[in-house]
């Protein structure tokens, strides 16, 4: 079995002392920052990204992946204990988790989240190992036309699945694509959209944009309404589940994992969509659905397994196709490019150590999470209780130093401030930042593939429709757009996001 040799390579890489250490640090840092209210995984990764620049590529990616699921898990802890979801995917966890905490069952809610996440993480890692290689093989046969169409499909999907106004989402994607084009044109060397500023010749740095939109923008938004938060259960006790409880969460965990794994692969879906749909599915299926919303343990188990599974499987398109399915993956791709690795199907064959090491380390990271989090919960609780007015200047410091140290340039700091302002305005007018960041990362790649495809076809745009794979992806995108813009369905879509 090829897969075992591959996993063997992975184990070898992931179990090296260095990588184990970075995985551990990543998970620990990710949880620590993710626990802090108002900081989701995107902001966390953007903030900690500069810390990984000096590491070798494999270790850097392992650490970033660790930060990602650490942050995800930390976010759930905050959601359960403070009813302040740090990120959109733990919004549903907060519904029943917080109720459980109010009833003095915080320990059980946390334990359920941990077990569900671990189980989902294990399954999703296996799926990743099974499905990534065949997918990468298919992807290797892709020409520029297929890639272009695939990117169109990815962006369309991220628009369709984004919450809020469809028009806004499309606008944000296009804006992101355009922002991605800032800088010197690769083919002709002509500077575009640089306003004659030499600092913009290399384009906008995605870390700067992400930190501005997700870091600064969030800070301002949180300052807008400074509520005092009450932390439930200063002491978390009773982590153990009874046999009966264990039995009742088993089904939700399995279903959540299955749903999350599938949805995670979809572009734009990822963790958030998974957790929402897993919750509504469970609500319909569960024998005690009346309990939902009043502290049902199933209501914690399902979304938590789903969002972890989704988080894990969203690595599949990133690693095999080089196409990000959510902002976190966009950051990962950015990190790979900074490390000098061109993301795409070739990564697996050219860097088997990195590819399989990353996969195996995900499972190890999940193990760390469960071992780390349950005993250390007291520490996390103390971190949650840090008041926001002391916290946000610290976040600001890390953003500022991080951005400055990228290129040792104060210009980047100004750009970050600008995007912070822009991010705040976007949040106010209901335009989501996530599609923009996806567009930003994909923009230059998309243009490149478009040009290459047209070059090969001697400027015949029909090339996109003559190749079957490319054509079917474009048709699918067109269908998706048509379907969601139909009035009846767009109402449904709004309802789906409004639920809960």
């Amino acid at each position: 079995m090829e897969i075992f040799t591959n996993l063997g390579i992975g184990l070898e890489t992931a179990l090296s002392l260095n990588n184990l250490l970075y995985c551990f640090i990543g998970v620990l840092l990710g949880t620590a920052v993710g626990v802090l209210p108002g900081l989701g995984p995107v902001a966390t990764i953007a903030m900690l990204l500069p810390a990984t620049f000096t590491l070798p590529p494999t270790s850097a990616l392992i650490m970033l992946a660790g930060i990602y699921y650490g942050a995800q898990y930390g976010g759930s802890t905050t959601a359960i204990l403070v009813n302040l979801p740090g990120e959109s995917s733990s919004v549903v966890t907060a519904i029943d988790g917080y109720k459980m905490a109010q009833q003095g069952r915080a320990g059980k809610a946390l334990a359920t989240a941990a077990i569900g996440s671990f189980f989902a993480g294990t399954v999703a890692t296996v799926l990743l190992a099974l499905f990534a290689p065949p997918l990468a093989e298919v992807a290797l046969k892709f020409g520029p036309a297929e890639y272009f169409s695939l990117m169109v499909l990815g962006l369309v999907a991220s628009v369709v699945l984004a919450s809020g106004s469809l028009l806004n989402a499309i606008g944000m994607v296009i804006l992101g694509l355009l922002l991605g084009l800032v800088g010197t044109d690769v083919n002709s060397g002509v500077p575009r959209y640089t306003f004659d500023l030499p600092q913009l010749a290399d384009g906008l740095n995605f870390v700067v944009v992400a930190m501005g939109m997700f870091g600064l923008g969030e800070i301002i938004r949180n300052l807008e309404d400074e509520r005092t938060r009450t932390v439930m259960a200063k002491k978390v006790e009773g982590l153990m589940l009874t046999a009966k409880e264990f039995k009742s969460v088993l089904g939700p965990i399995l279903r959540g994992t299955a749903l999350g794994s599938v949805l995670g692969i979809l572009p734009g879906g990822g963790a958030m969509l998974s957790s929402f749909s897993a919750y509504s599915l469970e609500k319909k299926m569960s024998p005690n659905s009346a309990q939902f919303g009043h502290g049902a343990i199933e209501g914690v188990a399902a979304p938590e397994s789903a969002n972890n599974a989704g988080a894990q499987t969203s690595f599949i398109p990133m690693l095999t196709l080089g196409i990000p399915s959510n902002p976190v993956m966009a950051l990962m791709i950015g990190a790979m490019i900074i490390q000098g690795i061109q993301p795409g199907p070739a990564v697996m064959t050219e860097q088997p150590g990195l590819f399989w090491g990353l996969i195996v380390s995900m499972w190890i990271g999940n193990l760390f999470l469960i071992v780390l989090n349950l005993p250390m919960i007291g520490l996390w609780v103390r971190m949650i209780m840090v008041p926001y007015h002391l916290l946000f200047p610290c976040i600001l410091v890390f953003c500022a130093i991080g951005v400055f140290s990228l290129n040792n340039s104060e210009f980047d700091v100004y750009i970050m401030a600008l995007f912070g302002l822009f991010g705040y305005i976007c949040a106010k007018i209901g335009a989501e930042a996530a599609p923009m960041l996806l567009g930003f990362i994909i923009g230059p790649m998309m243009e490149e593939y478009l040009r290459r495809a047209l070059l090969l076809s001697r400027s015949d745009p029909m090339v996109f429709l003559q190749r079957p794979i490319s054509a079917s992806m474009l048709i699918l995108s067109a269908l998706a757009i048509i379907v969601v813009s139909m009035p009846a369905l767009s109402k449904k879509r709004e309802e789906a996001f409004k639920e809960e």
């Binding site: 000096t54 028009l167 002509v190 300052l223 400074e226 500022a400 040792n408 998309m446």
Partner: protein, 129 residues
């Protein structure tokens, strides 16, 4: 009232490289146009008031950091940025803000300059470095 956004951006640049941006720019202008048109007919949700004070202070604090970084160096610019930004909170107290600023600056200096070895001067050219 729904504030329509018009993202019309410049479509300058030369013939070849302009191809992709021009198409995108065109679509964006169209979307902006639709959004504006729609705003006349559709009653959207009202937009909550903007938090002007924190916005200005936070942005100003970050810009100040950028301005001071070269000349004054890490330590003074960090302290100033933290004090200024902390002031935007309604819970601001000098008693907590000053020790926090000093402590975090020391921490940043230890971690970023000493430990990670980033080439950031703790004190800049204005202090004779």
């Amino acid at each position: 009232m729904y504030i329509a956004q018009d993202y019309s951006m410049g479509q300058a640049a030369k013939m070849g490289p302009a191809y992709f941006p021009t198409i995108l720019g065109g679509i964006l202008v169209a979307i902006g146009g639709i959004a504006i048109l729609r705003s006349f007919f559709v009653q959207g949700e009202p937009i909550g008031g903007f938090a002007i004070k924190p916005t200005i202070i936070i942005i100003a604090a970050v810009v100040l950091f950028g301005v001071l970084m070269r000349g004054a160096g890490l330590v003074p610019s960090l302290i100033l940025m933290m004090l200024l930004s902390a002031w935007s909170s309604v819970y601001f107290r000098w008693v907590t803000a000053i020790p926090l600023a000093l402590g975090l600056t020391l921490f940043s200096w230890l971690v970023f300059v000493k430990f990670l070895g980033l080439p950031i001067p703790p004190f800049g050219t204005w202090f004779g470095n």
